[in-house]
C-alpha cells in the first residue's frame, strides 16, 4: 500500500514537472505529426495498408524514444536522483513511477497521432489499438529502465537508442504482426508475454541501476 502511494507521489511529481516545463509532450506531438506529414508527401501514390503499418510503428517507436530520452532529464539536470535514492521507498518505485509518467505522455501523443494516421492513411482496427496499448507498456518499461542506465553516462544520447532499439525489435515484430494479420491473437499474446517478462526483470533489477 505504501508502495502504491510512493509510486503515486513520484508519478505525480513527473506530471507536475511536465505541466510546468512542457518539455516532453509538445515535442512528442510535433514529432509524430511531422513524421506523418512527411510520410504522406514522401510516399508516391497510395501506399498499401501493409506499408503504412510499418511507418506507423516507426513513428510510434521514435516518438517514444524522444520521450524516453527526456524522462530522466529533471533528475539529471537538478541532480535529484540522489534525493530519490536516499528516500526509504523501494527503488523500483522510482522506475515504475517514471514508466507510468512516460506511458502517460506516449498515450497522450498517440491519442492525437492515431486519428491523424487514420486521416492520412488507413483506419485502425481493434487489434491495432490493442497492439499499440501492449507495445506502449513494453516500450515504457524497458525504455525507462535503459534511460536510467544511460542517464549517468556521458554518451547518454547515443547509448539509449543503442540499447533500446535492439530490445524493442520484438515489440515491433509483434505489433506489426498483430496489426496486419487476420487473427492477431498470437501476436498480442506475444506482446503481453514480452511486457510481463521485461516488466518483472526491470522491476527486480532497478535497484542495481541506481546503486553507485
Amino acid at each position: 500500500m505504501t508502495y502504491v502511494r510512493d509510486v503515486g507521489a513520484l508519478a505525480r511529481k513527473d506530471l507536475l514537472l511536465e505541466l510546468r516545463a512542457r518539455d516532453t509532450l509538445p515535442a512528442m506531438l510535433l514529432f509524430v505529426a511531422a513524421i506523418f506529414v512527411v510520410f504522406h508527401f514522401a510516399l508516391p501514390g497510395t501506399p498499401s495498408k501493409l506499408e503504412t503499418t510499418g511507418f506507423l510503428w516507426v513513428a510510434i517507436l521514435f516518438t517514444a524514444l524522444l520521450g524516453l530520452g527526456r524522462a530522466f532529464v529533471p533528475e539529471r539536470e537538478q541532480r535529484t536522483m540522489d534525493g530519490l535514492v536516499l528516500a526509504p521507498c523501494d527503488r523500483s518505485a522510482i522506475w515504475l513511477a517514471k514508466s507510468l509518467a512516460t506511458l502517460a505522455f506516449l498515450a497522450a501523443a498517440e491519442v492525437v497521432a492515431l486519428p491523424l494516421y487514420a486521416l492520412f492513411f488507413h483506419g485502425l482496427g481493434g487489434a491495432a489499438v490493442a497492439a499499440v496499448i501492449l507495445a506502449d507498456l513494453g516500450i515504457c518499461a524497458v525504455g525507462t529502465f535503459l534511460g536510467a542506465m544511460a542517464v549517468v553516462t556521458r554518451a547518454r544520447d547515443l547509448l539509449l537508442p543503442l540499447l533500446f532499439l535492439p530490445l524493442a525489435m520484438p515489440i515491433v515484430v509483434g505489433a506489426v504482426g498483430a496489426t496486419v494479420v487476420d487473427s492477431p491473437g498470437r501476436y498480442l499474446g506475444f506482446l503481453a508475454l514480452y511486457d510481463l517478462l521485461f516488466a518483472v526483470v526491470c522491476w527486480a533489477s532497478f535497484e542495481y541501476v541506481v546503486a553507485e
Binding site: 510546468r20 535529484t80 526509504p88
Partner: protein
Amino acid sequence: MLTARRLGKRYGEKRVLRGIDLALPRGGFVVVTGPNGAGKTTLLRICAGLAQPTEGTIERQAARAQVGYLGHEPLVYRELTALENLELYGRLYRVPERRERIGMLLERFGLWEARHDRVASYSRGMTQRLALCRVLLHEPELLVLDEPYSALDEAGAELLDAQLAELRGERTCLLATHDPAHVRPLASGALALST
C-alpha cells in the same frame, strides 16, 4: 552510530580517501575539515549511503529513512514550488502530520511567504534554506551535512546554529565545513582530511 575502518575510495587510478578511521557514537557531533578536493564530500556521500568505499568497511546503525543528507546540490526540483518539493519528500519519508511539519519548517527558515514560488526563482541562500528543510523534514537520527552554511546569510546561519544546538546530543551529526571555528562549541570530535 557510524563506524568506519580503514576506509578508502579511489576513482580509477585516483586515490581520494585512504585509511580513514571514524567513530561517530550516537549523539556525537564530528566536524570534517580539509582543503578543497581533500575528499570531504566523498566521505560524507559514503557515510550517507550514496557511494560505496573501495577499501575498508563502514557500519551504520541507521536505516535509510533515518539519514538526513545535505550535499552540495539542494536535491530539490527547480520547477516545483518549495511546498511541492517538501510534500514529495514528506510522502516518500512517510512523515506523520506532514502539513504541519512542513509549515513549521518553512516558517522557521523564513520561506513561508515564498512557499508557492518555484525553486527556480529562489536565490541561492533561499535554496539552501529549502535544502535544510528537506533534510530536517523527517527528523533524521543521523545528519550528514556537507557545508551546510554555504550561501546562508547571517540570519540563516543563526537559524542553522540554533537548529543544530537544539538537536545536539539528541541526534548524531557529521558535518563538513571550511569554518570549523563556527561549529566548535557543538563539536564532540574532529576529522581533518588532507590531500
